[in-house]
Symmetry: C2
Subunit: 239 residues, 2 copies
């Protein structure tokens, strides 16, 4: 059940048997969420952190006028709210975008890890740092990339992240997002979102049917996106 987590943390540095055991001991209770359900609600003070075993989730905020913005997409092997372990109060909600199978870790167990397992602690810390790096890349995309480039970048990022946890098939992957939800990721209107997708399609770099994206021309997509995966810190080295 924790395979994705091991793949995710283990891509950055080797995980020992003992560390895997510590994680397995910390993560016991399984839960299931349906599409659209809140995994964590804004303003709450969680006492557990949630790991996605399978499914897609997203962090989001809603403004007074009803506008919604997703601030991250979380896939299998991602902790959706590891940051709440120390931040304490949720300043945003986390929603299941597909049926989600998760497993939770008591904060007391995470605390014990920080007291006794420094290397594993650094790997968990690193996991939240990669989160931050992704946020920064999104800020760049929102601020200075064209909308087409932004979308291309997102597709590149998701493909690479899903590859790490073995959730891609050849050059395609499943993305159970409606165009309205995607618009709330990129920060634009549904109509315009549709047109941006249309341009990438017409360029023959991707195919997008049935919530499945197939990358037809990876080098060209990377070019449009100016995608450089450095920020995902995928090199395996001592941390």
């Amino acid at each position: 059940m924790l395979e994705s987590l091991y793949l995710n943390l283990g891509q950055h540095d080797a995980l020992s048997k003992n560390e895997k055991a510590l994680l397995a001991d910390a993560m016991s209770v399984e839960k299931y969420f349906v599409t659209g359900e809140d995994i964590v609600v804004e303003g709450s003070r969680p006492t557990v952190s949630t790991l996605i075993v399978d499914g897609l989730a997203a962090r989001y905020k809603v403004l007074e006028d009803g506008g919604r913005q997703f601030t991250s997409l979380q896939v299998a092997g991602d902790f959706v709210d590891l940051h709440a372990f120390l931040l304490k109060t949720m300043d945003h909600g986390i929603m299941a975008l597909s049926p989600c199978h998760v497993v939770v870790a008591e904060h007391s167990k995470l605390r014990a890890i920080t007291e006794q397992a420094p290397h594993l602690t650094r790997l968990l810390w690193l996991d939240t740092l990669v989160d931050g790096a992704i946020h920064r890349e999104w800020i760049v995309a929102m601020g200075r990339r064209s909308k087409t480039s932004h979308l291309a970048h997102l597709i590149c990022e998701l493909f690479v992240r899903l590859q790490v946890v073995k959730k891609t098939q050849d050059m395609s992957f499943h993305l159970p997002l409606s165009q309205a939800e995607l618009a709330d990721v990129l920060g634009l209107s549904v109509v315009h979102m549709n047109r941006v997708i249309g341009t990438l399609r017409r360029m023959n770099v991707i195919n997008w049917v049935n919530h499945t994206i197939t990358i037809l021309d990876w080098p060209r997509l990377v070019g449009i996106a100016e995608f450089d995966p450095t920020y995902l810190s995928m090199s395996n080295e001592p941390r």
Copy 2:
């Protein structure tokens, strides 16, 4: 010299004498940077992390077309590249936006802290988590707020952050940013940046002369920004 750091970390939870001593031992070498100079260059692999004692710095990325986007603003008491301790390779640059007085910590010393001082480790981790929370708020601002609201939000955030480290005077603070640089924060053109500033000025909620911002009507500014400081995690509690 580390007063701002103590104020910054200490706002979230009490720092013990011993922890302050550990930090003081880790942070020894002082450096100075002039305006516009790179404190850390993109692609490098730092062996130290840098704390701002005084001045303003920013993380940034540059795209192929020359477009630049700042992804964060760092003030006194902020670590500009604590994340590089574990991320290893810089995926972005960090630039001094004013003359910067900094002090650096060897990563070996930080590593020792993670091995021996779990609570201090958690506070350092928390510092990077707040960074991430700020990133998320910026994403929301870029995606779903009006430009005026975005600017108002930034001003609120900076005012509150600077207040923590005692760098405000009454309702005003120093912000040594040109309108062109500010445009690269909000992700818009210089001309439009100027007009957005103009509207906030004409609304009589702020005064902005000589790189000094004075907030004339805090409640109204907060209203325009829909500013809720929860994401800054300013409550003092066990972490």
